[in-house]
Symmetry: C2
Subunit: 485 residues, 2 copies
């Protein structure tokens, strides 16, 4: 009976102690939370200072638009509908210039369409007396809202003009109902609405372009180059860390840091396509001219993803502890390491070329060539497997089964080398179109990219672009120097 009493006393004193400590604990945890939050904020701002700049730009645009209310004359002209300028700024002010332009254009189109239709239907309805007008306007709202909601399901519309129809429904219902009640004429409402929305769009676009603009094109450019670099790093890591079977180099931390990158590449499709879509609307800026070949970036992104899928499959074979009992297994392993390392080096080099928008250097070609040379070595090795016939038959079959995962790795790496070559060709095309202008592109197309494209089509799995790549490299050393220095 004693024990429970002691426990009770203990728990009572604990509760008392907790009650006393509560304010202290509370303030401590509050301080800890604030510190964590400040740390996160600092990290977010430090990782990408443009976030802070963007936030300040939004604040500035909103304050500017609020001026409509501070100045009496402007207020008299627009009265309440000036709040539409505020709404427009908040909704249209996107992170990149391209996105802002597309959204602004969509909002303008939707508003214009709605205002025009609402004015028409209201005029029609006003011919039918007061009750008839109310019924007709209700009917119009129902019909137009239903129709345009349905239109938003069309795949083409959904991809490009979804926002137009959202704004259309909103503005149409809004204006036709307002026009029915207000004493003022519908044309006046329509005019006010359109001018305030236009003011909102103009202020947003001007501030977004004039003050430290963030271009969707530049974002796409950087993201593609970064993804190629990540894939390259993974391959280097695969060569350096994973294929080592001696255990000590396989520390989890090292391998994790190498393999972190490619995961984000797997799901990059939609963001890249969106950025490419926005980039097309942007005016020429920096190194990007009018009609910059954005589709080449989409192609590079596609090829990077294909590599990432292969790396995902490769990862499964990394943790297999293969006992290398034969000399040829040792040799296969070494060749795999070199092949992976070389294609990793090629991709990293290529990512620099994409970043600086220049022709693939001769170094890229050298790396691709040596990874292909390793592939040839591997083929010879595989052919020589049957020469190890001096062991017993049963033991040999064991050795063969152990070798099979390594052969799969070879196949996956072959695919990756293939895609690396295609990326080199696409980078060459990109540099050609971006640097030489239209007239020279035609000449270049006759000489090289077409040839390489044909090669890809004809030889399905292993395009033999070695020769072309050498030509590319030779040209690039010449042209790149004359262009960039």
């Amino acid at each position: 009976m004693m024990e429970p009493a002691i426990v009770n006393n203990d728990s009572k004193s604990t509760i008392m102690a907790r009650m006393c400590c509560w304010p202290q604990d509370m303030s401590k945890s509050l301080i800890a939370n604030v510190v964590t939050l400040l740390g996160m904020t600092k990290k977010l701002a430090k990782d990408d200072p443009r976030r802070v700049i963007y936030s300040l730009k939004v604040g500035l645009a909103l304050t500017l638009v609020s001026l409509f209310y501070y100045f009496q004359p402007l207020y008299n002209t627009f009265d309440d509908s000036a709040t539409w300028a505020i709404i427009t700024v908040v909704v249209v002010f996107e992170y990149t210039v391209g996105a802002t332009l597309v959204k602004g254009l969509n909002r303008a189109m939707g508003t214009f369409l709605a205002v025009a239709l609402a004015a028409g239907t209201n005029h029609l309805a006003s011919l039918f007396g007061n009750i008839g007008e109310a019924i007709l306007i209700g009917l119009f709202v129902f019909i137009f809202a239903t129709t345009s909601t349905f239109i938003r399901f069309f795949p083409k519309i959904k991809r490009r003009y979804d926002y137009v129809f959202l704004i259309f429904i909103l503005t149409f219902s809004f204006i036709s109902v307002l026009g029915f009640r207000e004493e003022t004429h519908i044309i006046e409402i329509a005019h006010k609405r359109m001018s305030t929305v236009a003011i909102g769009i103009v202020v947003t676009v001007l501030i977004n372009i004039l003050i430290y603009p963030i271009w969707a094109g530049q974002e796409l450019h950087n993201s593609i180059a970064l993804n190629m670099e990540k894939i390259g790093q993974c391959l280097q890591g695969f060569g350096a860390v994973y294929m080592r079977t001696d255990g000590e180099a396989k520390s989890k931390d090292t391998s994790k840091s190498y393999f972190q990158g490619y995961q984000s590449v797997l799901h990059s499709k939609s963001s890249e396509e969106t950025l490419a879509n926005f980039a097309r609307w942007e005016p020429p800026h920096g190194q990007f001219r009018y009609r910059h070949p954005w589709n080449k970036y989409v192609k590079l992104g596609f090829l990077s993803r294909q590599c990432a899928y292969r790396i995902d499959a490769l990862k499964a074979y990394c943790n297999l502890d293969i006992k290398l009992t034969q000399k040829f297994q040792e040799e296969i392993k070494e060749a795999c390491i070199k092949m992976s390392l070389e294609s990793g080096n090629a991709l990293k080099e290529l990512s620099v070329c994409v970043r600086e928008m220049k022709y693939p250097s001769s170094l890229v070609n050298a790396h691709i060539c040596s990874s292909k040379a390793e592939l040839e070595t591997l083929k010879t090795l595989l052919k020589s497997i049957s020469l190890y016939n001096n062991t017993k038959s049963n033991q040999q079959s064991e050795v063969l089964i152990q070798t099979i995962p390594m052969v799969t790795v070879v196949y996956l790496l072959t695919d990756i080398v293939d895609y690396t070559e295609k990326m080199a060709a696409t980078t060459y095309e990109l540099a050609t179109i971006a640097c030489l202008g239209k007239s020279k592109v035609m000449n270049a197309a006759e000489v090289s990219p077409k040839k390489s494209a044909n090669n890809f089509d004809e030889t399905n799995n292993q395009p033999t672009n070695q020769l072309i790549l050498i030509t590319i490299a030779e040209q690039s050393d010449m042209t790149a120097n004359s262009l960039y220095n």
Copy 2:
């Protein structure tokens, strides 16, 4: 000199003829366009009639909300701010109930936060005279707009509360500026704004739930089952069409129809996660109770995607024309066909179980067992390769190299069988939690799913759940019958 004249005459008469035909051509192409559009509309509506219903619901909600303007007394209470109800309906009325609830809640939170803060800051600013008030309000708008724009960059906020902060910025700027100018008190404006937004949300949510609701949970449920079926069909197709080397069965149309499905599974991640997020907010409906295990669907989706990645890799090996010179190659091929077919059958069967939310049937287990049996056959076959020693050494190595792609196929199929087993276990867990309620789940967890989960963790690549699956199947025949009949 004659020829050009003739040409000129010819071209003139052509132009004349074209001018005459122009209205006819125009009307013809117009009619053709309208017919195409009508066809597309009909197809869209027929593919999913809920699209039409959703559009009608939006129309109805907007017409209902417009009633605020038709009835004089309501109009006098809310005047212009009643347009906010219209805007709320248009923006909040999402396709599924879950999405509508989440967006409505976000909008309500954002509005409430903004109104409360705007009232506070306006009261503070009013203490500083007219000019001081204008400057202070401008400053507050700038600070709050900047801060909340930056907050939207926090990953957690971006994922869940992005819309809250958008609405917050909008409403805050709007009300604090309006409150500064208006003769009416800020509390009145705030009250009007909040009630109209609330009316909009209530009307939207009621119409969305009461009239033919489209549940995010049901969508997720169907999409997961469909994806599993697609993967199953691909595997069946791979067995039936691709591994045949006799050419005639490899007709492109047949293979295309088999292989169309899995592509959409590759990119299903974000849509499934979004649906699962929305489904959590939905009230119990149909076969889905409160706290339905939506995370199990996300897991099934993840496993389906893993299978789809493997199928993507398999596709590369389909077009290889392997010359089967040896009996053992013939046997490997046959075993691969059976293995693929059996796991395809298992997945199709499982998809039916998920769709009907019942325990995996004994049929699923039978299919998985026989695909594993094929795997054992394959292992024995591979071990026996070295027995084919009677041919010349060089010829043998050729045969071995030809066999290597088939071995890769075996490895990929092994992965797929592994994932199929995991899917069977997850389907079992899903059925247990969904059908038996909380108390029984605890018991079940002690018996089966925990065991199977451990198995997955410990044996990394080849979980040996055969025994458990047999238990599952036996139980399921019992429980499923007692539950569903």
